[in-house]
């Protein structure tokens, strides 16, 4: 791996972790429920991107499909070196569906909160204390 590639990769990781931190900050500090939900969505998506990154091969990636039914040993060596890891993509696919369900549920809750309290500001939605 060349110096440039390494720097770029590290930059991407740093950026992803920074986005994770910023979205957590927004989740905690923003009083508006919709903004909290947006931050939560960003948080989840960044985690997904992070795991997609793990499966990525920097040099000449190929899809994880063996092109023949009778692979030779050298072909398989080449394949394992270059093919993108499909497992993280499966994980992300599952996680995206789950995130969607949570997101839909949270949005419905936000609507219901607005019906009860007439506001989406968590400082005013505070019937529960202690």
């Amino acid at each position: 791996m060349s110096m440039l590639e390494f720097t770029l990769l590290m930059y991407c990781y740093a950026a992803l972790i920074a986005v994770l931190a910023i979205s957590l900050y927004g989740l905690v500090r923003r009083p508006n429920i919709l903004k909290k939900i947006i931050c939560l969505s960003i948080f989840g998506d960044t985690a997904n991107t992070l795991i997609i990154f793990l499966g990525f091969r920097t040099r000449n990636p190929i899809p994880p499909i063996v092109p023949t039914l009778t692979p030779t040993k050298s072909l398989m060596m080449e394949f394992t070196r270059r093919a993108v890891d499909p497992v993280p993509q499966c994980l992300v696919l599952t996680a995206i569906v789950i995130n969607m369900a949570v997101l839909m549920f949270l949005i419905f809750l936000a609507i219901q909160i607005y019906r009860h309290y007439g506001t989406l500001d968590v400082r005013k939605v505070a019937r529960l204390r202690g």
């Binding site: 994770l20 957590l24 989740l27 429920i33 909290k36 939900i37 939560l40 948080f43 989840g44 985690a47 992070l50 795991i51 793990l54 497992v87 993280p88 994980l91 599952t94 996680a95 789950i98 995130n99 369900a101 949570v102 549920f105 949270l106 809750l109 936000a110 219901q112 909160i113 009860h116 309290y117 939605v125 505070a126 019937r127 529960l128 202690g130």
Partner: protein, 528 residues
């Protein structure tokens, strides 16, 4: 390879699949029949079948010498998703199934004034699938999926009474905090997969030891750094779900507006499952404080003890000042979750025995208390302790249950929680942590005062306002009586139960050799 077809070996997989399948079938059944009765009978039947199935799994686990492995689609361990059930997880599965069965019976009368119960029962079955799936699975990503199933059902169950503002508010808090926790666990999976190259628990345990596993070989990256980061994230994520201080704040809010059946199951099963997951990572995968990852595990164990002590103290202090019966009992959950965390954090087998026994005892006693509170609130229509004044005299059965449950949780000698607290104190003594016994005693005394406050209010005080003349329905009284008897019986039979049921389960949790070997035997067939 001579494989005989034995249908009973498919039972472990059937448990979550039946629950999820019937959860999806229930709205359709309601659509066709438009009958509330049919839904209720259906759910009680399904949870009853689940109870039988989990008991069969328990029997299989206790009679077999190694963990039961179920391979989905016959894909062997590191490649496919497997269920790996040892005695510890089988025991927790039965505990959850008992709670769900009684909760389903209890709900038939408890929710008679609510509408849309078919959705409630759908969520209840989803919740059951999630909890049992979490207990049985042998794959860390499947664990994530099952935990999400559990969590989403739980958020929605909290908000079931969506016309009550408190319920929606509590649900929102729980949903935001809970989904952050599950995403944090997902990031932990990222680190684990990035360095180990596998998602199977037995495979992970083998790689932590430096063994080679079929197909995945040895670990890819730096195992120690990744284990440290991942373990920190996992403990963070699941201490939120287990309501350990300082991550406890969502729990009282969620329990106030939720149906008491949810509160009973959540504090009895969901909290236990979160602590079970932490224990599984610490003791099976990373092999405890004597294993290869000793420094990391040691740090986490100290953190668990500290969080447990904080939970016990903060929970019991806040418990006394509550005026709302549900909220008071919710703080008691935080206290007891703290005891279990202390037991897991000691790191000795005796500590884990105490933790597991307390998980079971707490689940029984807490379900009892919540069902009693539900009986009162159902009749009076208010959760305020002042409004409940005098209602206990009209409902003697419930009051007897309340007294038994309260005394059990406070740790009065012949009852069940006393026995587990005694073992916990003994474990602390043996681990040279004697000062912490004072924390347990202090928290128990404070919570006894809080329980006496409920008993005084419902039984000894004169009614503040005119009370309705209703009694508890038999279906709401039977679970209370059954749990009260269980509290007493478990207390009296503790000297028999601990060596026969609890200690083998803890031995299985600590026996990583067996855990790896069972999976490896099946995996090696792939290479043949």
């Amino acid at each position: 390879m001579n494989l005989e077809y034995t249908p009973i070996l498919h039972v472990p997989a059937l448990v979550p699949i039946l629950a999820v399948g019937s959860a999806f079938a229930l709205p359709l059944i309601h659509l066709v029949t438009k009958s509330r009765k049919v839904c209720e009978y259906f759910v009680v039947t399904i949870t009853g079948i689940e109870l039988v199935l989990t008991t069969i799994v328990l029997h299989l686990a206790y009679t077999s010498t190694k963990p039961i492995i179920y391979t989905f689609g016959a894909w062997p361990p590191p490649v496919g998703i497997v269920y790996e059930i040892d005695r510890f997880s089988a025991l927790l599965g039965v505990l959850a199934a008992v709670l769900f069965f009684t909760a389903a019976l209890y709900s038939t009368k408890y929710l008679e004034k609510d509408y849309g119960v078919e959705w409630y029962y759908t969520l209840l079955l989803g919740f059951e699938a999630g909890i049992v799936g979490c207990a049985y699975t042998g794959d860390i990503f499947n664990l994530f999926v099952m935990f999400e199933v559990l969590s989403i059902s739980a958020y929605a169950l909290v908000a079931f009474r969506k016309d009550v503002p408190e319920a929606v508010e509590g649900s929102l808090k729980y949903a935001i905090v809970g989904s952050v926790a599950t995403t944090i666990y997902f990031i932990a999976i990222t680190f684990i997969y990035g360095s180990f190259g596998t998602l199977n628990m037995a495979d992970l345990a083998a790689k932590v030891r430096g063994l080679t596993f079929p197909v995945t070989g040895t670990a890819l990256g730096n195992v120690h750094v990744a284990t440290g980061i991942a373990l920190a994230l996992i403990v963070w994520a699941f201490s939120i779900e287990a309501a350990l201080v300082p991550n406890h704040f969502w729990l009282p809010d969620a329990y106030v507006g939720a149906p008491v059946t949810f509160s009973a199951i959540s504090s009895g099963a969901a909290v236990n499952i979160s602590l079970y997951i932490i224990a599984r990572y610490l003791y099976t995968i990373l092999q405890g404080r004597d294993g290869p990852a000793a420094p990391t595990v040691e740090a986490v164990l100290i953190a668990l003890v500290v969080m447990g002590c904080l939970s016990a103290i903060v929970g019991s202090v806040l418990m006394i000042v509550q005026k709302d019966i549900n909220r008071l009992i919710a703080y008691s959950t935080i206290v007891n979750s703290g005891y279990i965390a202390i037991g897991l954090g000691i790191g000795t087998p005796l500590g884990i025995v105490a933790a597991l026994f307390h998980m079971i005892n707490h689940a029984v006693a807490k379900a009892l208390l919540f069902f009693c509170a539900g009986n009162y609130v159902h009749v009076v229509g208010s959760r305020d302790l002042d409004d409940l004044a005098g209602v206990g005299k009209k409902m003697p059965l419930t009051t007897i249950g309340l007294v038994v449950g309260a005394l059990a949780l406070a740790g009065v000698p012949p009852l069940n929680c006393f026995m587990s607290k005694l073992i916990l104190a003994q474990a602390l003594f043996e681990a040279n942590l004697t000062p912490l016994i004072a924390v347990i005693v202090f928290a128990s005394v404070l919570s006894l005062m809080a329980y006496l406050k409920i008993i005084y209010n419902v039984y000894c005080r004169a009614p503040v306002k005119k009370l309705p003349e209703a009694r508890e329905h038999p279906l709401m009284a039977y679970p209370v009586i059954a749990y009260a008897i269980t509290c007493i019986v478990f207390g009296l039979l503790a000297p028999i139960l601990v060596p026969t049921a609890i200690e083998p389960a803890v031995t299985d949790l600590l026996n990583t050799d067996n855990y790896i070997k069972a999976a490896m035997e099946i995996a090696e067939k792939l290479l043949r």
